[in-house]
Symmetry: C3
Amino acid sequence: MQIGAASARGVLFVFFAHLQLLFAASPFSRLAVDNICGVAAEFRTGKSDLSFGDYDYGAFSMDATAELANGLNHAYMLISAFLVFFMQAGFAMLCAGSVRSKNVMNILIKNVLDACVGCMAFYFFGWGVAYGVDDDGEASSFIGAGSFFLSKNKANGGFSDWKGFIFQWAFAAAAATITSGAMAERTQFAAYLGYSFLLTAFVYPVVVHWVWDGNGWLSAWGDENKQAVIDFAGSGVVHMTGGVAGLMGAIMVGPRTGRFGPDGKAVPMPGHNAALVVLGTFILWVGWYGFNPGSQLAIADGASAEVTARVAVITTLAAAAGGVTAMGLHYALYKVWDLIAVCNGVLAGLVSITAGCPVIEPYAAVLAGAGGAVILWATGKLLLKLKIDDPLEAFAVHGACGAWAVIFTGLFATEGYVAQAYGAPWGKTEYGIFYGGSGALLGNQILEVFIIFVWVGAIMGGFFYSMKVAGYLRSSPEEEALGLDESKHGGSAYNMEKI
Amino acid sequence: MQIGAASARGVLFVFFAHLQLLFAASPFSRLAVDNICGVAAEFRTGKSDLSFGDYDYGAFSMDATAELANGLNHAYMLISAFLVFFMQAGFAMLCAGSVRSKNVMNILIKNVLDACVGCMAFYFFGWGVAYGVDDDGEASSFIGAGSFFLSKNKANGGFSDWKGFIFQWAFAAAAATITSGAMAERTQFAAYLGYSFLLTAFVYPVVVHWVWDGNGWLSAWGDENKQAVIDFAGSGVVHMTGGVAGLMGAIMVGPRTGRFGPDGKAVPMPGHNAALVVLGTFILWVGWYGFNPGSQLAIADGASAEVTARVAVITTLAAAAGGVTAMGLHYALYKVWDLIAVCNGVLAGLVSITAGCPVIEPYAAVLAGAGGAVILWATGKLLLKLKIDDPLEAFAVHGACGAWAVIFTGLFATEGYVAQAYGAPWGKTEYGIFYGGSGALLGNQILEVFIIFVWVGAIMGGFFYSMKVAGYLRSSPEEEALGLDESKHGGSAYNMEKI
Amino acid sequence: MQIGAASARGVLFVFFAHLQLLFAASPFSRLAVDNICGVAAEFRTGKSDLSFGDYDYGAFSMDATAELANGLNHAYMLISAFLVFFMQAGFAMLCAGSVRSKNVMNILIKNVLDACVGCMAFYFFGWGVAYGVDDDGEASSFIGAGSFFLSKNKANGGFSDWKGFIFQWAFAAAAATITSGAMAERTQFAAYLGYSFLLTAFVYPVVVHWVWDGNGWLSAWGDENKQAVIDFAGSGVVHMTGGVAGLMGAIMVGPRTGRFGPDGKAVPMPGHNAALVVLGTFILWVGWYGFNPGSQLAIADGASAEVTARVAVITTLAAAAGGVTAMGLHYALYKVWDLIAVCNGVLAGLVSITAGCPVIEPYAAVLAGAGGAVILWATGKLLLKLKIDDPLEAFAVHGACGAWAVIFTGLFATEGYVAQAYGAPWGKTEYGIFYGGSGALLGNQILEVFIIFVWVGAIMGGFFYSMKVAGYLRSSPEEEALGLDESKHGGSAYNMEKI
């Protein structure tokens, strides 16, 4: 919009505003409220590239209140996107602190490149796979069809959902980074470049399309008659996808040398810097306030404002409950006040609430987070029994707790909150069985868990297997012993002066 | 609000909007402006759980402009809350860097748990103690009465002030973390869990109720005829409370072994990582932009927007003046460009402006910050003379400068700014004696300092004394010598590969 | 504004609102839309201290929609300012990680003081030099004239552009910090204090006045008939200024002892902590989302919302392209996956898009970022050939890529985007020659690069030369060998317990 055009529209606005006086029952007055709510509604469908620039500037959309609502929603979504992107810094610090000092640059460069390669992949293909439509504005229920390279197409009059792109890219980068953690300290760099691109260009965006695009077959934000999964900010879409990909990678690449002793027992390989782990955890927690509350995609209307604020509180309660539970569990079992366990408990709590945050009660958030901490611990034990080495516990935190979160939502979603967050215009009314729901929601939630496991497991498993067979997956024993930093990245991450 | 309901309200809106045409002098047109201002006013009283969800959706409150103002205020308060929470990361890095490397995990787990345990404590009791009302919507002037566990009550038709809760929780966690710093490196973990819970569940929320809840006996945001303390973002409420609790703890637990030599002189125990101290300082500074400007609790109306922006500048000036003054002071005295002193000077400057930021002039902000740096230095010297060992200088920074800030406001608050920030509808007009004020404000400010010192000192002092007598307060000499990380937290924070 | 005054204005509002009914063609209805757009327009000129507090509260400006737009723009600009300030933490971590461990406290105290001293300098003089007007509201095209010490003057009825001050201060601190990096590890502290103050009080604000103040002779946001440089967020204004100052400093102070061997070849002096470098890079990237999108200075109107969101995406694409290109370039040349090179590539990409972000297409953003990574590499090689030692590659990243960004904008700015971002009311229409532009824009861009090089180079070069002659510039060989931390800052940044 040019400012000059604004003046022209102003004149039209005057005309219509006063035309309105002639028809006392005219619907024009409703526009202000409806536009605010409507903006939120259209945002959620994923079909609409609804930046203001694309409006057909008829009298209706010129409404000043709608313009302000658009501005406010832009501001809130952009800031949320920046917070989600900040999570990359959190993952980087968490990962760096959790590996041995000889592999720090290796994991850090992957974190930086998850944002960079992920951006290229999402720009080239990912966005189009997730949300693209063809020239008729259509897309299949399986995959998007257009907007590759942020290209223009007839249906939407040129790409314009800029805030949507940056928000979604930040999520995609998070999924890729989760995967990196599970394969840390022994994976070839070329293999990393491959899976990072594959995941952010195709595997992850397809899941996004299914669950979040209005055309997707599992989407709650589409037709009333479709499957309706409630996975608000992506416990399944993002965390399970990243976690399951990581599990496949960890299985295929095998455990770090020396991780399991001759007796099959796990040998501790503690990270090299607990301060970085805590810093990473706090940054991730802060970033989650973009992840979860930002996923409302709007805040200008009263309902969105309330949901967004409640989501922030619910998210906090689950994180705190996860941390406290992990503290108690580890002290009870091992008589140690375990800092790393508390940090992972916080993250488990956060993952465990990400699916259902707008539809569950505060007390249930505490249950979700506490349960997540237990599931994290149990999953970690199980993987060690199976001799699967996941240095960051990425599958336990993101995969297992992601599945827990999706299913938990099918149990504890309340009728009123579902109606508020997923009612009009999407017409979704199914809620949790613990509140008397029919079980249809729970069934759909289980279906999401199953289908993500199958889809991501099959494609990423196949990819990692191919890389393994081709000899591109695992670093050589010499490189691993020396450390990847010295062998591949030109030196050590740390160079302290002799004193 | 459900979107479906929005449409229904839209119809009502049309009706009333056009009814309006029949009565040219009708007050309906005023709603837009009044609602914006009114939202801010009601937010400040603390009595109103004013999320939009609670509106009686009559024609009046349906006003689209009010809905937008509500959305904008939600967005700003949520982001401010996230910034305040980010301060936990800042405290964690500041504390970690300031202790010896053998106690890093100990201080870090306390920082993480201040957020987690503090959340549970504030969810269970703290919020209700601070802002809760009974079923008739009443609360005493001493303590809140309801909304425990975010429960619903008749007076407000169900809990709804979600943004208020997350904002206040972040403040409570900050108070607890301040205390941790003063007792670092020699306190038992169980004692920590006790005081963290006690502080965030009861001691701190009571102070909040007094000063910030409209019902509190010291609140400026309540009845016109009450005591009116100006402690905008909590130099007294948050920083003095945390600092005085820390002082009591430091006295009761005693100095670290070896902190004072046989001659009674302090032996330097430098922190182990200056980079973490700087990182923490910067994060705290950034977080303070949620703390101070966010405490306006609204930004949609013109007055709030101006106050919020001015508060950001005033806060910056005080922080910078504190840093520069500390630099000059330490160079003049010791001929060292002292990085840690500059960092603490910045924090002292920030604490010193937190009470009065909306009511003082820029030049006075420079004075407040510079004075804070001097008070920090003098208080630090005094504590060493008294053989009180406060590893983070928590009392000097937060306690002493907190008191300085509260009293400074009684001296330098300008008439015009008080009228702008505390005038209508609260009717507060008292300003600083240096501008010709009557002294009533200064008297109230001194009363706040006194009463916080007594309240927090008595309860927390009593608690720490009981713990000491029961043998739960101080770590054993062996644990302290070995380091708390090895003895209680399962190993060292750092594990560097041999190269 | 007092709330009481709001009520009084409400009455006036009612009067005018209903008066409006009598004149169907009255222009009053246009106010809502026009005010939103107008707010953005006036913000950009730099002349208007347009906080709401300064409004002549006639019926027009009381419009509720304009008040909300003002609130929203305040919120967005404040948060953007906080993000830009957060970059100081990023620079601090980047610089600390990039120097040797014996000079960490030295570089960190400079980073902290760049914010503190910079604040004092900008409060005393800088703001007035950049944006000040005299009592008649005038300023020359070369330098501002008033508002020193945030003083009041008749023209604007008292200082009120609080959000503008904090936003601009954060930019000024960034420029000073860029300079510090180029002179790290061998510069006297007194010299630093001098150039930091000089830069933020005078040299940098003059450039700001030229390019960003509506009165400036190069400003695109002023008269239609003036030179119009497109330097949206300051690739030239901020980054070239800091980078050229750093280059002058690095030349004058000479290379670190041992940086060049007897054969003239550069001896690697790797930084001491790669994790801090990555943390700094991510924080800078996050902060850039305040730097670039925030430079729209408004988000309430539809055009600003779209530009802001697009700028965020464009910025991301350039950063990612810079990182990926640096990765490929260094692997192709040296067979190393070079973490530090990738980090610097990201920063080069960010600098390379900062001038033109609102006026170039996504594909061009990729070109700009990729080109920046190449220019960074080539400039680094060139400086080593010339035996100029720039430890942080500050000139390569900020100076060279800053110039590249400004010139790139003259090549790739599209006609439509220029019209959107710089059309009405500023009447600027010149666009890039690759899209058929006349070359006038490109000429102006080259002029900006030239004039910043001359201005900053001459003044800062002269200053550094004077300091050198006076013996205040370079640390003594003994201090440098021992490390500046031990010799000047009271000890080492790191104190690890023996285990």
